[in-house]
């Protein structure tokens, strides 16, 4: 049995919904308002909100995977090899990558999150912070110290869904 409706009844239904919403929003704004007075009142973003990307410098190995996978090419990475002298004479010198520069240009970033996904050493995290607009376009380039600062705002990972 397909439920049949009277043609044109949708018009009245739509009008009723709007009137109903309007009346209850006017008289009980606290309960029914879906938005807030933004600069005065702030919403708490959800735990997995994609606000800004934070960097853990210690974990980064300069593997460049994030920069190469970025569809917008908005990640700038530079690094150099640092030689650690061998423990015993005649041993092999150890090499590790040292991060010199890690910039994300948020004027270009489209918040796809591929860099966070692709990072093999968990150096990149999503933070729900969203208030970092600037008056100048160039100031949207966040250097690695600023990205490190965002790390403090990263919430604990929510439990995996069973």
């Amino acid at each position: 049995m397909s439920s049949r409706t009277v043609p044109g009844s949708g018009l009245w239904k739509g009008m009723w919904v709007l009137l109903y919403t309007m009346v209850r929003t006017i008289f009980k704004p606290k309960k029914y308002l879906a938005t807030v007075n933004y600069p005065k009142v702030k919403e708490t973003p959800v735990a997995r909100a994609r606000g800004v990307i934070a960097l853990d410098q210690e974990a980064c190995t300069v593997c460049m995977l994030c920069a190469r996978n970025c569809p917008d090419w908005c990640i700038y990475i530079e690094g150099h090899k640092e030689e650690i002298p061998p423990d015993k004479p005649g041993g092999r010198i150890k090499v590790r990558n040292k991060l010199d520069r890690f910039d994300i240009d948020y004027a270009l970033c489209m918040y796809c999150g591929i860099c966070v996904e692709v990072c093999p050493f968990d150096a990149l995290f999503w933070s729900p912070e969203y208030e970092y607009s600037e008056a100048q376009m160039g100031d949207m380039m966040h250097d690695m110290d600023k990205l490190q600062d965002w790390l403090a705002t990263v919430p604990d990972q929510p439990e995996l869904e069973k």
């Binding site: 009008m15 709007l18 007075n37």
Partner: protein
């Protein structure tokens, strides 16, 4: 009072005073309706709406918008037909202002009680569309041109049902004067909407199309035509179109109120109170219709061009014609 009559006896001073009144009333009405539209639409969608400008409720939002428009650069495109481009907003505004001439605000309160009042009102309201067509043509922009031509097609289609549904009222009232129509309703004891419900519905639908409000906003149609005939306008000229749209909403509602809802008259209110309450009653009734227009706008999606035309030619015009014939027959028989 004596000073006022003294001043009004001088033609030029009276002219300046009347112009000042018009220059105050029309932007004021436009702003009130514009603000109501912003705020009510917000509530209908469970949003807050403007709340920042002016402190409480954001009451100064439209004033802030106006100041913003004044600061904008007055751009005229290189390919534009400059004189026509400049005149178009003035033509639109002139049509709007001229419509206020025949609105009966109260018993004896009317700018000019023309014998052909309703005829004049319907004729002059088409001037707005001429301005729109001028704007669309002169902008030198394909979107503007399409918008302007759509407005012209819409005007031709919806002018007929608008006129026919008014004709039925004129037959009932036996006069074309706006005050005469209101007085006919007063003496009949009931507003004409009781017998002319069909005419009222047709008139409101056609008025929505004349004002190119959603669901008939094809001349503007943001998602298809950028902003239609308004695409190339900026600053004060844009503000003119904007204010004219909202003031037109009010004047069309006021005409509908005069024709169908008894104008400045409310049953049960004595004549001496009506002298003062008349304008308030008219404004109150008109704002009810304006609210309905805002309500429709946020409920219904835009119709397609073929739906727009078939609604007018296949439904509204035959219905309103039949309405005219029936009204005429009953007028003769009874």
């Amino acid at each position: 009072m004596e000073l006022l009559t003294d001043l009004m006896s001088n033609f030029w001073i009276a002219l300046v005073l009347k112009l000042l009144v018009v220059a105050l009333i029309i932007p004021l009405i436009g702003m009130v309706i514009g603000f109501a539209e912003m705020k009510l639409s917000a509530k209908m969608q469970a949003r807050v709406g403007p709340y920042f400008a002016g402190g409480r409720w954001g009451w100064a939002q439209l004033i802030a918008d106006g100041v913003k428009f004044f600061q904008k650069e007055d751009l005229i495109p290189r390919d534009a037909d400059r004189p026509v481009f400049k005149v178009a907003p003035i033509v639109v505004m002139a049509g709007t202002v001229a419509l206020f001439v025949v609105i009966p605000w109260g018993p004896g309160v009317i700018f000019r009680d023309l014998d052909i009042g309703i005829f004049y009102a319907l004729a002059i309201s088409s001037l707005t569309t001429v301005g729109v067509l001028m704007a669309g043509w002169a902008s030198g922009n394909k979107y503007s041109l399409i918008g302007g031509l759509r407005a012209a097609g819409q005007l031709i289609a919806y002018e007929l049902p608008l006129v026919f549904s008014a004709v039925a009222v004129v037959i009932m009232a036996g006069t074309m004067s706006m005050q005469g129509i209101v007085e006919a309703q007063v003496s009949a004891g009931y507003p004409f909407v009781l017998l002319q419900l069909v005419g009222f519905v047709v008139f409101m639908i056609a008025a929505l199309a004349e004002l190119s409000r959603i669901p008939f906003d094809l001349p503007i149609a943001e998602s298809e035509l950028v902003m239609g005939y308004l695409t190339e306008y900026s600053g004060f000229r844009f503000l003119f179109f904007f204010l004219a749209e909202f003031a037109n909403m009010f004047s069309m509602s006021a005409i509908a109120v005069t024709l169908f809802l008894g104008g400045w008259h409310l049953p049960g209110i004595p004549a001496d109170v009506l002298e003062f309450a008349g304008p308030l009653i008219l404004i109150g009734k008109s704002f009810l219709l304006v609210f309905a227009m805002i309500w429709f706008r946020w409920t219904f999606p835009r119709v397609r061009q073929d739906q727009l035309q078939s609604l007018a030619w296949k439904w509204l015009i035959p219905i309103s014609l039949a309405n005219v014939i029936l009204t005429g027959v009953f007028k003769v028989v009874l």
